[in-house]
């Protein structure tokens, strides 16, 4: 796979939501590869290259929905941030919840950004564009070491 591509992991249980996010991500100019997992367990297996995900790519950026069945988004975040292998990957929370508790807990557990999905789709697209600007040109992401281990 093209090394210039940015690897994104989208953790979202609702395929309609996932597809909508993927549609919005089409505004990115940077070439990207989006992998979608539906549950927390799948997400962790993906990141640890376990079971069905032996060949998974280590993502550069994770989009995490909070309201997930079984393992809640908060728990997934906590596990990622307590795993020394994974904690360097920025995790962005992408959710409809605007609960202050969720925001506070998100940052407490080490999220790199709490993003509320806007209701209006146009605004959502605009938001995605801004995320690309910030995460792919303003800040420097840690070097993805996928290649070195393979």
């Amino acid at each position: 796979m093209d090394q210039q591509k940015v690897n994104i992991l989208l953790i979202e249980d609702n395929p309609a939501e996932a597809r909508l996010t993927q549609e919005a991500l089409k505004v990115w100019r940077t070439p990207l590869n989006v992998d979608v997992v539906n549950t927390g367990d799948d997400a962790l297996n993906f990141l640890r290259k376990l079971e069905n995900y032996k060949y998974a790519k280590r993502p550069d950026l994770i989009f995490l929905d909070l309201n997930l069945p079984k393992k809640h988004g908060r728990e997934i975040l906590a596990e990622i941030k307590s795993d020394p292998e994974l904690k360097s990957i920025p995790v962005l929370i992408l959710t409809v919840s605007e609960s202050e508790d969720d925001v506070y807990m998100g940052y407490q557990l080490g999220t790199s950004g709490y993003i509320k999905k806007t209701f209006n789709f146009d605004h959502f697209i605009e938001m995605m564009r801004k995320i690309e600007d910030y995460w792919l040109s303003v800040v420097i992401l840690p070097r993805n070491l996928n290649g070195l281990f393979e």
């Binding site: 939501e17 549609e23 309201n67 409809v96 919840s97 999905k117 209701f119 209006n120 789709f121 146009d122």
Partner: protein, 737 residues
């Protein structure tokens, strides 16, 4: 027996006299003479046997003696004379006249007039005047006494008492002079001695009587006193006790007399008193207070004083004064009980804590060994024991266990009886009570007497208190009255606690259900947003990416879908806002309502500009409130005022406030469409709308939110309006919150 010497037996005999006595002796016959002496001895013997007990006895005895005397030596007049005060005169207290067989008394002779006679009386053992008119000792009486009474001879014997002459026994012979024989002199002297003895005896009796009367008086006084008074000798035995002792110890004064203190007081009380008794016997005055066992059971609280009595610096014994302070002590105790109960009721958090403390306090202050609290359970119509306190030093397992396991119907056992009768009941000794099912356990633990008290709220019996003692106790009405009052007080307390509990429970349930509703509203609206957002997203995607494939109708449909979604979104947003509104007391602070108003206007800037509305306000006060909610409130009211404008009329909104009786009344006045009076109240209900969507957009939640905010701030909100002219919304907020 007196020996009569027979000297001068034949001296001066006269035969001329007819006197029988003289004849007897002048006949000189030995057997006759011996017979006469035998008669004398018999007479003396008879006299010696006369018993004298009273003053009356003495007078009778003297009469008897004089008669026997007269008949024995055969003389006409025999009389007894006694000195009055200071020996200045002598009075005849009795005279017997043989011929008349008659008694009389009352003559008086002055010592100064008959000095020879009186002198002779002092000196001689006897005056035997054969010829009274000639005898130098008696001739002083001749003219005034002897001649008129035809007395010829006198035989007078002085009466000595304690070595002193107190009177004289006179024998007066009428007729020819008579010669007194020595045997007759001796006989007279002997009779005089008997009289002296009788007088002496009478004197002693009188003295004794006086003493007895004095003692009687003393006893009367001491017996009438409500204190124990006694005298204890060196050997700790009672020598005097007043009547109070009989009441206290249940034995008669005679029985107590001479008894040792230990035997009367009992071992326990004696042990307590012993050190003080020893102190008193060492000669110290002792004063102490102590609780002493009482013979009827129970204890008496006493003040005791011992005052030692000395004789030549030697302690002979001591006087005892015991003051019974039990009643006073009881009153004090009752006050203490009342105070303790009040304090416990005021301080205890739970009923259970209070009851256990009250049982303990009452037992300790009034000396009961065990106290129980019984509660009526109306659902099964039984009374059962909930709480027990007993003196930890006393074994009470059996009674405790049976009391906790048993349940009584109304009328059954002491608790059931108290419940049924609604009155306090005293049991002196329940071993004699056949309505006491726990009797054997009670006896096993040594309990004898007790009382039961109803716990009442109004007429309803909520429970009962029971107290038991190891002693049989006399009913104590004062204590029962006090306990009855405590029963009522406890009843009120229990009722209040139950009410509080019920209110607390209701409040808790209400809070829970309220919270549940709030959570439901929040979760529902939150969860509604997600699918709606998905629908909205795809509709927009469709119209973006497939627009060129739609015809006009499809375009119109799409527009309606988008509008529907927007409206639903707005509704959900408002519902979220409404359900999230919470009483924010902790966020109250002093805020400037001018700033709040400006902020709301700023938030509505776009709408104000679009409608070219004119918003004005007077100077507004500073009040305690939640800032966010106040902005929301103004925003909703001003927003409504602009929204419901009359077509073609420039919207004007004016905000002002005035202080009325501690409340700030705010008003938001507009010149809009106005509201019909029948809707003045209903517009504040949630989802209540008065206009169609095509005329005025809105969810119907705005005013409901305003009302909730105002309620949280302890104010009121209302509206006044004239249809077609405008509306004024008022809300009040407390000046000081």
């Amino acid at each position: 027996m007196r020996i009569l010497p027979l000297r001068n037996a034949k001296k001066n005999l006269s035969t001329s006299t007819k006197d029988i006595a003289t004849q007897k002796l002048t006949e000189q016959s030995l057997p006759r003479r011996q017979e006469y002496l035998r008669q004398q001895a018999e007479a003396l013997n008879f006299v010696a046997k006369i018993k004298i007990q009273t003053a009356e006895d003495l007078s009778l005895a003297i009469k008897e003696i004089l008669r026997i005397d007269a008949q024995t030596i055969l003389v006409e007049r025999v009389s007894l004379w006694l000195y009055g005060d200071q020996n200045t005169k002598i009075t005849c207290i009795e005279l017997y006249e043989q011929s008349k067989q008659k008694y009389s008394y009352g003559f008086k002779l002055h010592a100064s007039e008959y000095s020879s006679y009186f002198k002779a009386l002092e000196e001689n053992r006897i005056i035997a005047a054969h010829d009274a008119c000639a005898d130098p000792r008696t001739k002083e009486f001749k003219e005034n006494y002897l001649v008129p009474l035809k007395i010829s001879s006198m035989l007078d014997a002085p009466v000595h008492v304690g070595g002193k002459v107190v009177g004289v026994l006179c024998h007066e012979h009428v007729g020819p002079t008579r010669h007194w024989f020595i045997e007759e002199e001796n006989f007279a002297a002997s009779i005089a001695d008997f009289i002296a003895l009788a007088l002496e005896q009478k004197e002693r009796r009188l003295a004794e009587e006086a003493l007895r009367q004095r003692e009687e008086q003393l006893r009367l006084i001491t017996d009438s006193l409500p204190v124990l008074i006694s005298y204890i000798d060196q050997d700790q035995c009672y020598q005097f006790t007043n009547a109070a002792y009989e009441k206290w110890f249940g034995i008669s004064t005679a029985q107590i007399q001479g008894q040792h203190m230990k035997d009367v007081l009992g071992d326990k009380a004696y042990e307590i008193s012993k050190p003080y008794i020893e102190q008193a016997l060492k000669g110290e005055k002792v004063d102490y207070e102590a609780e002493l066992p009482y013979k009827h059971g129970g204890k008496r609280y006493v003040n005791v004083t011992y005052v030692p009595q000395f004789n030549d610096n030697q302690v002979m014994g001591f006087h005892v004064l015991v003051n019974d302070l039990t009643e006073r002590y009881k009153v004090e105790q009752r006050l203490k009980v009342q105070y303790a109960v009040n304090r416990i009721l005021a301080e205890s958090g739970t009923l259970s804590d209070a009851l256990s403390e009250i049982l303990k306090a009452i037992c300790k202050l009034t000396g009961w060994e065990i106290g129980l609290y019984w509660e009526v359970d109306l659902s099964i119509n039984k009374i059962h024991c909930i709480e027990i306190w007993h003196n930890p030093t006393i074994h009470m397992n059996e009674f405790d266990m049976i009391s906790r396991s048993v349940q009584f119907s109304p009328g059954e056992g002491l608790p059931g009886k108290v419940w049924d009768k609604r009155t306090a009941i005293w049991i002196e000794d329940f071993t004699k009570d056949n309505n006491f099912p726990r009797g054997s356990a009670a006896q096993q633990n040594g309990l004898r007497g007790g009382m039961g008290i109803p716990i009442q709220s109004g007429k309803e019996v909520l429970g009962a208190l029971e107290f038991f003692s190891s002693q049989t106790l006399q009913p104590d009405q004062g204590l029962l009255d006090l306990m009855t009052a405590i029963g009522f007080k406890l009843g009120q307390y229990i009722q209040r606690k139950k009410d509080e509990e019920r209110i607390h429970q209701y409040t808790e349930e209400l809070l829970k259900s309220n919270k549940g509703l709030q959570e439901f509203a929040y979760v529902a609206s939150h969860d509604l947003q997600e699918p709606l957002r998905v629908v909205s997203g795809y509709v927009q995607l469709l119209s973006k990416q497939y627009r060129w494939k739609f015809d006009v109708a499809a375009d119109e449909y799409m527009t309606y879908i988008v509008q529907g979604i927007d409206r639903m979104h707005k509704l959900i947003q408002d519902l979220l806002l409404y359900s999230r509104l919470q009483s924010p007391v902790q966020l109250f602070r002093k805020i400037d309502m001018n700033e709040i108003c400006e902020q709301a206007i700023e938030n509505l800037k776009i709408s104000i500009e679009e409608n070219k509305a004119l918003i004005t306000h007077t100077s507004l006060p500073r009040i305690y409130a939640n800032q966010t909610q106040m902005i929301q409130l103004f925003q909703n009211l001003i927003g409504n005022a602009i929204k419901f404008k009359r077509p073609g009329v420039k919207s004007k909104v004016h905000i002002s406030a005035e202080n009325k009786g501690g409340m700030w009344i705010f008003s938001v006045e507009d010149n809009g469409v106005g509201i019909e009076p029948e809707y003045f109240d209903r517009i504040f209900d949630i989802f209540r709308r008065l206009h169609s969507h095509s005329d005025y957009a809105g969810t119907g939640i705005g005013l409901a939110i305003c009302k909730k905010i105002i309620e949280y701030h302890h104010g009121q909100i209302w509206v006044q309006s004239i249809l077609g002219k405008g509306s004024t919304f008022y809300f009040s907020l407390p000046e000081n919150s």
